[in-house]
Every structure is written in C-alpha cells, then in structure tokens.
Symmetry: C2
DNA sequence: CGGGGCTGTCGAAGCGCTTCGACATTTCCC
DNA sequence: GGGAAATGTCGAAGCGCTTCGACAGCCCCG
C-alpha cells in the first residue's frame, strides 16, 4: 500500500505539503503541486480512509437508513437509495447502507463510532423511534418523510397533503362525486407512516370543500387483495366513479378488475394514482398520476446534508410540490343515473 | 466523544486491557472484564471506527456495488442489497453502497483507500470491466452472477442454465411443442449479462433434447412493449402454446393481453415465469414459476466474503438449484388442431 | 535599503486504537 | 517446595493522516 510519506519522498517534499496539495487548505506553488500530483499518479496513491478519518474526524461517509420492510414502495426506496449514493459521490461522500433490522440503536452506534459524518433516514414514521436518539446525538441528519414533530429536523418529502388534495380536485373537476381511495397495506397505517396519513388528510379536507364523498380502504398489493377490496367498495358505495390509488402494486390489478367487471376506464370509472412515473406509464391503461419524485428526494436530501456538513444553514422542511399528469385513465364522470 | 482511554481510567485498568476485553484476543479475568464492561455501558462508549481501522487495518466494511441501471430486476436488486446489509451486520460488518456511476475505477478507489475490507459485485456481466481491476487488487471479493471466465473468483448465482432447462422440461412434459421465451430488454442481452444468456443456453439445449421449438424475443417491461412483442410472436409462430417469461415487469401484461385476446390460461396457453415469488403469487393468475432467490443470494455472498476474511477457504462458484413451483398458469397443451 | 507582510514549505504533535513484548502473579507438577 | 508453564495486565510503539505554529525567502513601499 502506498502511503503519503512515500509520495512525499518521491516528490521530494514533506508529508504535510502533500497533504495540503490534496486538501487545498493552504496555498502551494504550481510547480510543487504538479510535482506532487505526478508522484501521486505514478505511484497510484490513494489516501487511507481510516487514517484520514482519524486525523480529521471526518469519514466522508453518509449513513442511509432504509426500512427493512418490503410491504411498501420498494422500487421507490431503491430509486431514492441509488439517487442518494450517486449524488453523495459527486460531493465526495460514500454511502453506508443500514437496514432497519438493527433498530433505533443503529443511530447511536453510527453517531458514537463516528463511522459516518451524517445520516439520512428514510421511511420516517410520525412518531419514529429513531428521532429521540437523533436529537441527542450531534450527528447532522436529514429525514426523508415528515414526522409528527419535525421541529429541529431537516426534512424532505413530497407534499402528500397537497397530493391528496390534487387528486380529489382533479376528479371533482371532472364531475365525480363519490370517490374511493385505495391505500397502502393496513400495516402502513397502523405504524403511522406520515405520508399515508397526510395524503388522507389532504384528500378529506379538499373533499369536504368540494362536496365529494370519500371512502378510504387500505389494501395489500396484488390481484387477490385488490379483488376483495374492490368488491367491498362497490358493495358499500355502488355509486363510486372515481378512484385514487396510493399503492403501486394495486394499480394494475385495479385496472384489470374493472375491465373484467365490464366497467370502462375512463368512461365509467376514473382512476388517479400516486406512484412512480414508470408504473403509471407501463400499466395497461396509461394512468393519470401524481409522480413520486424519488430521485429528486434522494438528491435533495444529500444536498441538504452536505450543506449542513459545510456549515451552511438549511431550511427545516422542504415539501416538493406534487404534479398531476393527466393520462388516459381519467375523464368526465358518467351522467348520473 | 468517549474514548477508550476514558473507559480505561474509569475502570481502573490500562487502555490495552480495555482493548483486549473488546476484542477477546487475550484472556482477561472475569472480574476485570466485568468491570470494564460496566464502564463501557455507563459511559456509553463506542469505539472510533477510523482509529480502529487505522490501527488494525480492518474497516469492518463490505462494499456492495449495485448496478446503476434500472432497466432490470430492480426489486430483486433491492432484496439482495437488503439481505446483504442485514447478513453483514450479523457478522459485525457494515455495508457501503456503491453505484455503477463511478465506473470500474470504484474498485481501485475502494481497494486503494482500504475503505472496505472486501467487495461484493452485483450484476456481473460476462466480460465485466471491473474484473481485471479486481484481479490485480488484493481485496477479497464475491460476485453475484457468473462472468465468462470465473477462474479465481468466488461466485454466487442461481443456476440459470438449469432454470431455463427446467422451464422447458415442465412445458414439454405437459405436451407443449412450441415455446416462446419472453426475455429481458434487448439492452440486457447486448451488454452480455450472464444470467440472461445462460438461461437461453439452458432453454435451447433442453429444447433440442426434447424436440421442442423455441422462439426467443427480448422485451422491455410494460404493457405496450409486451403487446408488440406478443403480436410478433403469434405472427411468426401461431402454434405457440407455451411461454417462458424472464422479465418480471412483463408477467402481468402478458397474462392480461392473453386474456384480452380470448386465449385462456392455462387451457389454451401455459405460462412459466422466472421471477420473485411475490410477483408470481400476486399476478392476476397465480403463475407457475422458478423463484429468484434474492435473499439467499445476498446471504450466501456475505457468508462467503466473511469466510474469506476469516481466512477460511471458499469454493469458487456456488450455483443455487432452481425450483419450479407449479401454480395455476400452466397445464396440458391443448389437443392439436 | 530596511522593515513589514505575504507565500510556500516544513517539522512535530497527536487523532484513538491495536498489538507486541515484558513483567508480575498464580498454578501446576514432580 | 521449587522451577516451569500458564495466566492476566501493562506500557509503548506505531498505524497514516491532518493541522498548527514556525520560518525562510520574497516583494513592496516609504
């Protein structure tokens, strides 16, 4: 393994000079810099990460805690994770992947061991167990998701309340008066996942304002679960003409079932989904949807965390504005009767 | 930040004693050990990762290189990544997430900086660019996937050749004589991804043995792409009664389209998929499938890498045996005519 | 032309840990 | 009961880097 000392000897300078060339924290003459850089290249030198972390108390690592659960939004999570890793690299950071497995203790372990300079938490619950630990640690952090009490935390998320409202508005504008919301799996609500609840708040509030009736049903993904849920919905509210789907693995089953039941989309039934673009576009009917900007969320989270590490100040919460794209699955409500 | 020295002082022993309590590399009397452990607990001590890495030249980090591409198997990748992270923790390792973004250079960077003790590469191509770099570095590595020349590398993968053969056998056994294989996106074949090609080898070889005709068509995911592909298949081979699908985002569209065309599954057409269990079970018809054991692959990869780091010897390649689960999408071929 | 301020470089200290050899002490066995 | 072999603990060196203060040489200006 090549060390800084060897580079220094090879270039005929002192170790500290090499270090300053690398970090740029002091001015170095062009001639010296070039000589050192050449030596670095020739010897194939890479700074030892451990030594660097020890000396500078900076590991250049950002920890990313992903949820262990797979009952939800897996592709979205993956997309965020990839965006985080990629963006982090452009700022000179690597990403440590932590799963929920370890529990909230992971926060303490990472902060205590100085393994990472900062953390990004995904899938933040409204009353997330990790947050108290995060509060007492000094490690900078950014949450993807919005907890019940975001005070003092920096958060990035899609504005799900606005998203819910937007979906209702769209359907109401088309004349729909009875709307069903097909939500995430029941477990997601039970553990008070912020985005699911906030979406419903947005839906309900706007529905009241617009005089629309709303029925909300959680739904596991998949065809069978969707079939059962759908039957119950039409049983309870036969006049339902609009659907909002917030569960990407329910989108295609829903379209499929409606077709099988002889209900035409969008002539008889309109469907709006909250899901990644890809899902909306690849479905059997191109679905009107509010996109989940996974990449954007990952990118913004990293940028905020890097800003904090650079000592720049950072706004507390950033809620990305939802955008609804009209496609082929929504249209005017059928004439009553 | 609590240091080892403070723990030592608190417990009334020397620093080295605390270190030995932590590592267990020398015998420590029960009394002393308890005293030290108590101090550790009381002070909330966590060893500094950088210092430890520097002194021991072990970072206790495993680097995981995931593909950047999203044209393929994303949920499978996620599942593997999570399994890797979770399994790694049980062995005392953390996982560093690297994306393909950085290119093969990442291998050199990680090896050179001693950031990680070992690497796991996912999505290995037949002639993967990273492999030459890996060969010349001393960093232990495990590949998930099988390159063209696996000599000297430790690999874990599903036995895709056997998988292809198994699918053909199943269909042939049911009397199907004309089979179409719906593959991954064309780009996947163009870059010579091992698993895709090996599946086709297995399919073709067994098909010859069993006197079955095979037509292979790559297919992007999604409904529209599948519709086009399907039309071309029936155009070219109207007698096709069996389908093998190796693209999880084509499974549901295929079932859907067949239904729309009035072809009953499994009465007229049998479908066998190579996909995660969840996809097979959640589809509109429960699909006969060979599962992709993502978790198992991630777990085995970590176990191999840890074995190497422990100096234990490790077999070069482990190919997991495919298992075909019969569900509702495959049945006897319709009588000829 | 001499003092003050830059610039560019160096040496040394130290980050927190592991690990090696040394040294007491205890235990064992003949 | 005495020497050899364990057993348990300590001190010190050093891992490879960053960073601080020092300092030599330079230029500039009065």
């Amino acid at each position: 393994m090549v060390t800084l000392a060897e580079v220094a000897r090879h270039a005929g300078v002192s170790a500290s000079t090499v270090s300053y060339v690398l970090s740029g924290k002091r001015t170095i003459s062009a001639a010296t810099r070039e000589r050192v850089e050449l030596s670095i290249k020739e010897l194939g030198y890479h700074p030892n990460a451990g030594a660097r972390a020890l000396a500078s108390s900076r590991s250049n690592i950002i920890a990313l805690m992903v949820p262990l659960r797979t009952d939800m939004y897996v592709p979205v999570m993956m997309e965020i994770a990839i965006a985080v890793a990629t963006t982090a690299r452009t700022h000179g950071y690597d990403v440590l992947l932590l799963t929920g497995e370890e529990g909230p203790e992971a926060v303490r372990r990472i902060a205590g061991s100085a393994l990472a300079d900062a953390m990004i938490l995904m899938d933040v619950q409204l009353d997330d167990e990790r947050l108290p630990l995060l509060r007492e640690s000094e490690t900078p952090a950014v949450l993807i998701g919005l907890p019940a009490d975001p005070d003092g935390f920096t958060c990035v998320d899609l504005d799900f309340a606005a998203t819910g409202a937007l979906c209702v508005e769209h359907l109401a504008g088309l004349g729909h008066r009875e709307i069903a919301v097909i939500g995430e799996a029941a477990a997601v609500y039970e553990r008070h996942t912020g985005f699911a609840e906030r979406t419903m708040h947005g839906v309900r509030k706007r529905a009241v304002g617009l005089g629309v009736r709303v029925l909300h049903r959680p739904c596991e993904g998949g065809f069978a679960a969707m079939a059962a849920t759908l039957a119950r919905i039409f049983d309870e509210r036969p006049g339902t003409t609009g659907f909002v789907v917030q569960n990407e693995s329910a989108v295609e089953p829903l379209l499929n079932l409606l077709r099988q039941q002889g209900r035409a989309v969008p002539e008889d039934i309109s469907v709006v989904a909250v899901c990644p673009e890809q899902v909306a576009v690849q479905a059997s009917v191109r679905v009107t949807s509010v996109a989940i900007p996974a990449q954007e969320m990952g990118r913004r989270a990293v940028e905020k965390v890097v800003a904090k590490l650079d000592g720049r100040s950072v706004e507390e919460a950033e809620l990305l504005k939802p955008e609804l794209t009209v496609r082929a699955s929504s249209g005017p409500a059928p004439a009553a009767g």
